[in-house]
């Protein structure tokens, strides 16, 4: 039989294919809209490859099951959305304190509270700034297409293991639900090595995983080491995609679906003779601050489906040395391209009077 590597996949499906091709061994999850297709696809595909899929009894159990598999040295993942991620925060803090690698996929929806299932981006602070207790951070990847959700699964596990850190893949309900053509990457050449530190029969039994340090000096030392790790990540792992940004006077910044909308808006603005460009962060932590600083834009605009959360990182990146505006919608509303175009012209004073 002949196989093809081109498929039509929802973002939510593509991330599972990517994870499996990247050697993910275990999936533990709990159903939640708009992330449920991830569990559906995992339930179909993980057992097909003899790997572990288990529907956990709750979000809390799911992240702790991930912790168990990760401690065993396996590539493990879970997926949820906003409120489910809130429940997972304790576990993510433990994973971070224990320096265990894991992939957490977050398909964001509207909040606060039960909110709705429409695509908000209001969990930026929760995911990018820590979320749980303690001075920890996670690497946050922000795919904006099904292809990227597939490809970034490789990046996610590689980074998670390189830095022994939790990696989020955070995107919104639109990207999760949109089906697109995906070219499947080649699978890993074979089963990967179990890491040296793992609680695995092939490793020394002196291996131990813990995040408790009774002595204050010991806990401070851990925290200093963690902060140094985060600095290293900031130096080495910033990723972004540029579109018409090199000579742009007005730079739109947006991730996930906002980045896609902003891209179309930039094309429209260029048609109207406005020198607009786009920086789409692919990593949110580390925020692509170096690239942002380098670009010559005179004014910046954060395009966000929240009250304006990423905008803080835009301002920090450039030390507030240029105006930074906000174009946003909330409640799960998606700004139209023409709305972004019109508000850009107005905010930057280029509106035709």
């Amino acid at each position: 039989m002949e196989y093809t590597n081109r498929m039509l996949l929802k973002g939510n499906e593509a991330v599972v294919y990517g994870a499996l091709l990247a050697g993910c061994e275990c999936f533990f999850g709990y159903p939640i809209t708009p992330a449920s297709e991830i569990a559906h696809t995992a339930a179909r595909c993980f057992p097909k490859l003899g790997r572990t899929f288990l529907q956990a009894e709750c979000e809390i159990a799911a992240i702790n099951m991930v912790m168990g598999a990760a401690a065993n040295g396996r590539r493990a993942m879970t997926a949820s959305s906003g409120l489910g991620i809130s429940l997972k925060q304790e576990g993510i803090s433990y994973l971070s304190g224990s320096e265990l690698p894991a992939l957490v996929v977050d398909i964001t929806r509207g909040g606060p509270g039960l909110g709705n299932i429409a695509p908000e981006q209001s969990d930026y602070f929760q995911v990018v700034k820590g979320g749980g207790h303690g001075s920890y951070k996670c690497i946050v990847l922000a795919p904006a297409s099904a292809q990227e959700m597939c490809d970034l699964a490789f990046t996610a596990f590689d980074l998670a293991e390189k830095y022994r850190i939790v990696v989020y893949m955070m995107t919104d309900g639109v990207i999760g639900q949109t089906m697109e053509t995906v070219t499947l990457p080649e699978p890993l050449p074979g089963r990967r090595e179990i890491p040296e530190w793992a609680l695995d029969v092939t490793r020394p039994r002196t291996n131990m995983i813990s995040s408790i340090y009774l002595e204050t000096d010991d806990l401070e030392a851990l925290n200093i080491r963690l902060q140094e790790k985060y600095r290293r990540i900031e130096q080495n792992e910033q990723r972004s995609e540029l579109y018409q940004a090199g000579d742009a006077e007005i730079l739109l910044v947006g991730y996930g679906i906002s980045g896609r909308l902003a891209r179309t808006a930039v094309a429209e603005l260029r048609k109207q003779g406005v020198k607009a460009g786009l920086l789409r962060p692919v990593t949110l932590f580390p925020f692509p601050a170096d690239e942002l600083r380098r670009l010559p834009a005179k004014q910046l605009i954060a395009v966000e489906m929240s009250n304006g959360q990423m905008i803080d990182d835009v301002k920090l990146a450039i030390n507030c040395d240029r105006p930074v505006h906000l174009i946003n919608r909330m409640g799960g509303n998606i700004p139209g391209v023409d709305e972004i175009v019109a508000r850009t012209l107005k905010l930057t004073g280029m509106e035709v009077k």
């Binding site: 061994e25 572990t52 809390i60 598999a69 080649e186 890993l188 131990m208």
Partner: protein
């Protein structure tokens, strides 16, 4: 002269406790008279005697035993409060070679983590759970536990536990034993020598079950906490053997391990050739080469399509068909459905975008090139979003011809009626695609692409309904009936 040791520390423990901070490296941190020391010793002896130190992982709970990894010469992990059974599930599922011990206190297991223990038990996870029930919170300083006895005074029940306020002590062994999956449940007491000997056997039985992959075992150990219960050793044993045992009777609650087959989990497949065979889709049609591009000019620009109707009309699958056709001809495509409760009844709509370039917004809004409307409300709602020179295709079985559409081009056919005549409303999709073919051929397609449209439709049908030959043939018939019946509305 060297001392002769008759009965020393088990080799299941480290020789000295170097992980313990501070100067004391030979003693445990537990208070005098505490049951943890006894239970630790019984476990350490068992993992030493069974020769399983290299594959045993002891999960340390939150509670006094949080530091158990100071002592045991095997793998250790400390986990969130109450979540040991979930972490244990992860460990046990990740590698069935692992011997996983979940060591939990009464607050951890029976209060904050009760859902985790019940669910892990109910799944029959291959875990040995050692549950220390001392009727009180130890680590946090003597608060009420779910197993605190009626009338028992604690920091948070200063007048004594009132069953009308705090409820009754939770009977964990009885509850777990009532489930179908667990293979072994016993309650023991870490009190007299006789009881400790029974506990020793129970622990070995639970670990044997784990080694033999029989599934879930739980040993509940009634245990002393002299400091928080404010008792001396003699009172403590009296409390365990008379007061606690009366409420929590000792004994075997379930033992069906002999009747169970060992759990057998699948082995993961990682060989890249096999992975591809299992995961990559089968190619159903010869199709075109990767470099093929339909030459007609229409495809140079991004094409944005909105499809809308009522739930059950097959709007989403019609959009999926169009997206599949695009995929088969090397377009970048996106297909975005309305999702969530909206899908279950009421209206359904989806956006399809085809492009030779990366697609910006997958949402088709006011820049729609083609609107396919299957019911009146969808037409009314989305017609204003159709471009000035856009194309409307509607199902005249359900939709009235709109007025004042200006430069917009209108195509129609009685898709639902034709589909019903064909035997099933679900053929309306393919009938409508026949109409799309007519419209495309009339207005946009070069001669080569005209024939290719029919080909790619047939390939897409095969792609969507692979191996269902009758469905494929019925849809192809519907497509050509659509082609025969579609007409442009002339003005």
């Amino acid at each position: 002269m060297a001392d002769k040791i008759l009965y020393g520390r088990s080799a299941g423990f480290f020789p000295t406790f170097e992980r313990r901070p501070g100067p004391i490296k030979t003693n445990m941190h537990y208070c005098p008279g505490c049951g943890h020391g006894i239970l630790h010793k019984l476990i350490a002896e068992a993992i030493q005697d069974f020769g399983i130190k290299d594959k045993t992982i002891i999960i340390a709970p939150v509670g006094c035993a949080v530091f158990s990894y100071y002592y045991f010469d095997c793998f250790g992990i400390s986990v969130p409060h109450g979540r040991a059974p979930a972490v244990g599930t992860g460990l046990a599922r990740a590698n069935q070679e692992n011997i996983v011990i979940s060591y939990q206190g009464d607050g951890d297991l029976a209060s904050i983590g009760f859902n985790q223990i019940i669910q892990a038990a109910n799944r029959g996870e291959n875990l040995a759970v050692f549950f220390v029930n001392n009727a009180i919170y130890g680590m946090t300083g003597g608060q009420m536990a779910p197993t605190t006895l009626p009338g028992q005074k604690t920091q948070t029940t200063p007048q004594g536990r009132s069953v009308s306020t705090e409820g009754y002590p939770l009977k964990v062994s009885e509850t777990v034993a009532a489930l179908d999956a667990p293979v072994y449940v016993e309650r023991v007491a870490l009190s007299t020598v006789q009881n400790i000997r029974k506990a020793r056997l129970a622990i070995r039985k639970a670990l044997t079950n784990s080694i033999e992959r029989k599934g879930f075992s739980l040993v509940e150990c009634l245990s002393g906490c002299p400091v928080n219960l404010k008792m001396h050793a003699k009172e403590m044993n009296e409390f365990l053997d008379n007061q606690m045992s009366r409420y929590f009777p000792l004994g075997v609650y379930k033992d069906i391990a002999d009747s169970r087959d060992p759990l057998q989990r699948a082995e993961g497949i990682y060989d890249p050739r096999q992975v591809k065979e299992l995961l990559y889709p089968v190619k159903v049609a010869d199709g075109v080469s990767e470099s093929f591009r339909n030459p007609s000019r229409i495809f140079e620009a991004e094409r944005r399509i909105k499809l809308a109707g009522s739930g059950g009309q097959g709007v989403l699958s019609l959009g999926y068909m169009l997206a599949t056709m695009g995929k088969l001809r090397n377009f970048n495509v996106s297909w975005l459905p309305s999702y969530g409760p909206e899908m279950r009844g009421g209206t359904a709509n989806c956006s399809v975008v085809l492009s030779r370039h990366p697609i910006g917004s997958p949402l088709v809004e006011r820049d729609c090139n083609l609107l396919i409307a299957l019911n009146q409300s969808s037409l009314d709602k989305y017609l204003p979003e159709l471009k000035r020179n856009g194309i409307l295709l509607y199902d005249e079985s359900n939709v009235r011809q709109p007025e004042n559409t200006g430069e917009q081009i209108l195509y129609t056919l009685p898709a639902s009626d034709l589909a019903t005549q064909l035997g099933d409303l679900k053929y309306a999709n393919s009938v409508l695609l026949g109409a799309v073919a007519v419209m495309m051929c009339d207005l946009f397609l070069d001669d080569d692409d005209k024939a290719d449209f029919d080909r790619v439709f047939e390939e897409a049908i095969m792609d969507c309904f692979r191996e269902k030959e009758t469905v494929v043939q019925a849809n192809i018939r519907a497509f050509y009936i659509g082609k025969e019946n579609a007409r442009r509305i002339s003005r």
